[in-house]
């Protein structure tokens, strides 16, 4: 076992099951039913029933997406959380990876032997567009009067990154090409496609420099994991996937007070997780990664924040095929948010679930070429300020 010099835990924590619904623009299921579908699959894959579950952790981003207040409580029956210690966690888009983090401390503390961890988002309820929900994340006095939308801040951040690192749109588009292609092998995928850099550049300009194909789609969906203590994990499976490190940090919510070209919130969260996992050289010790990719440049940004490449080095490595499924350090082998889809909280948990499937060699056609021992998943939330990171190993 990897030593954890900086932390005392009652039990090592393993992931023993995972489940996912289709990610689609408009699902017929209610949010509760989506949560249930993912939770049931996760239980089945662990060979457990609801009776075997001690505690439940639910993750969902703003209530306003599903249009149901207190979504955690609303989702509780579908998530198997009735009459159990159940809690909902929420750090915006970072929620998906915060779910296994919260589930981890439930088990690591010795409080629960098994946790069902469920993340759900249904983005298709809001009219005219779920984009309107994001209006509430801006300062009502300084920013909202300008009529911002989410694409603005991404566009500003992307432009800053392009300038700081001297990166072209052509290079950034390669991320979209790679992830949408990877997603062709994901059974849940919504936006899988064989596209070219030209397709990205020729797609409609939304908010320059962001084109349509630089962006992940609007999605409904849910994902779930089952976590267990070491004793319990060894009882139910021969191939547990260990959670070796977790980390999370919050940067300033006032986004103009930061260097937009480098995601410090990710770096700090990653440092916390790597320290716990005993990782000193992540670029060497991590075999593959699921960095958060709601926009294509964001994957490069986050690869650098995760210290898997030096600042401004990721675009060059990308061009060399370093991050391909057959590359030195595959990133988003799942297909990521760009390819599989982006039901906010569920998308982050999908990334954590991909670590589980890859580390069990159960990813099928998505399995990366190289042998894998350790992977990292990461998500980001709200106004670029919440970083959540989880490291898993087999």
């Amino acid at each position: 076992m990897v030593s954890r010099p900086n932390i005392h835990v009652k039990s090592k924590v393993a992931v023993v099951g995972a489940g996912i619904t289709l990610f689609r623009r408009r699902m017929l299921e209610t949010p509760r039913e989506l949560a249930w579908e993912a939770a049931r699959q996760a239980l089945d894959s662990a060979g457990l029933t609801l009776r075997d579950i001690d505690c439940v952790v639910i993750g969902s981003a703003p209530d306003a997406f599903d249009g149901v207040h207190m979504k955690g409580e609303y989702l509780a029956d579908g998530s198997g959380g009735l009459f159990k210690p159940t809690v909902r966690v929420y750090v915006g888009g970072g929620t998906g990876v915060f779910v296994p983090i919260a589930a981890w401390w439930h088990v690591a503390s010795g409080l629960c032997r098994t946790v069902l961890a469920v993340a759900e988002e249904k983005m298709s309820h809001a009219r005219p567009h779920p984009q309107g929900v994001f209006a509430y994340i801006w300062d009502p006095v300084l920013e909202r009067p300008l009529g911002p939308n989410l694409l603005w801040i991404f566009a500003l951040e992307m432009r800053r990154y392009m300038h700081k690192c001297n990166v072209s749109k052509e290079t950034i588009a390669l991320v979209s090409v790679k992830n949408k292609r990877n997603a062709l092998d994901h059974p849940a995928a919504q936006a899988a496609a064989n596209i070219t850099v030209e397709d990205v550049l020729n797609s409609e300009v939304l908010v320059w420099p962001v084109n349509r194909l630089d962006v992940s789609p609007v999605s409904d969906g849910a994902a779930a994991l089952v976590l267990a203590s070491e004793n319990e994990a060894r009882r139910v499976t021969d191939s547990p996937v260990w959670i070796e490190g977790v980390g999370w940090t919050l940067d300033n919510t006032h986004w103009y007070n930061r260097e937009l070209g480098y995601p410090r919130y990710v770096q700090y969260a990653a440092r916390m997780a790597y320290k716990m996992a005993g990782i000193e050289r992540p670029w060497r010790d991590i075999d593959f990664a699921e960095p958060y990719d709601p926009f294509d440049y964001k994957e490069l940004h986050h690869i650098e924040g995760l210290m898997l490449a030096r600042p401004c080095e990721a675009p060059k490595l990308l061009e060399e095929g370093w991050f391909d499924r057959s590359g030195e350090l595959p990133t988003s082998p799942s297909g990521g948010l760009l390819g599989v889809g982006n039901p906010i909280a569920a998308a982050g948990l999908m990334k954590a679930a991909e670590l589980f499937w890859q580390l069990r060699y159960e990813a099928g056609a998505r399995q990366v070429k190289k042998p894998v021992h350790r992977g990292v998943a990461q998500a980001w939330g709200d106004l670029m300020q919440a970083g959540t990171v989880v490291v898993m190993g087999n």
Binding site: L50, R127, G132, R144, L146
Partner: protein, 154 residues
Amino acid sequence: MNAQWSKNPWNVYKFPGRMEVEKYVYTPGLHGLEFAKALKEGRIVGTKCGDTVYVPPTTFCPDMSRGEVAEVLGPWYIESYTIVYESLDGKPLEKPVVIAVIAPEDAEGALVHYVDADPDEVYIGMPVEPVFKPPEERSGNILDILHFKPTAQS
């Protein structure tokens, strides 16, 4: 949103905000759709899990297995009730409204609905039955049930 600001009557600046999501369009879900269809036909359905039927239907059972759509026939009884005298904005209602939790004998769970009865005569345990709109006015909505009314005692 325009960058407009105005002065309020107390001479303090205010920055008006506005809801950008104008409305939500919800899906009823899998068994929810069956529930809606049944209402249109003047029936009420629930979800059968093992030997127990649950209403309203939820697709999934308490043990996380998938349930089957099943008919709920009643009879229905008032489990609890309240009487509303004021509207949401505090105006007195012309006629008090009886709201009740109404449980069927042949299923677990209940519906919340209006009861068309004299507030003085309503009691817990009162047998009631659903009154549906005329078929041509139904739209697959909980309001296809106009209200419940006391069952005529024979």
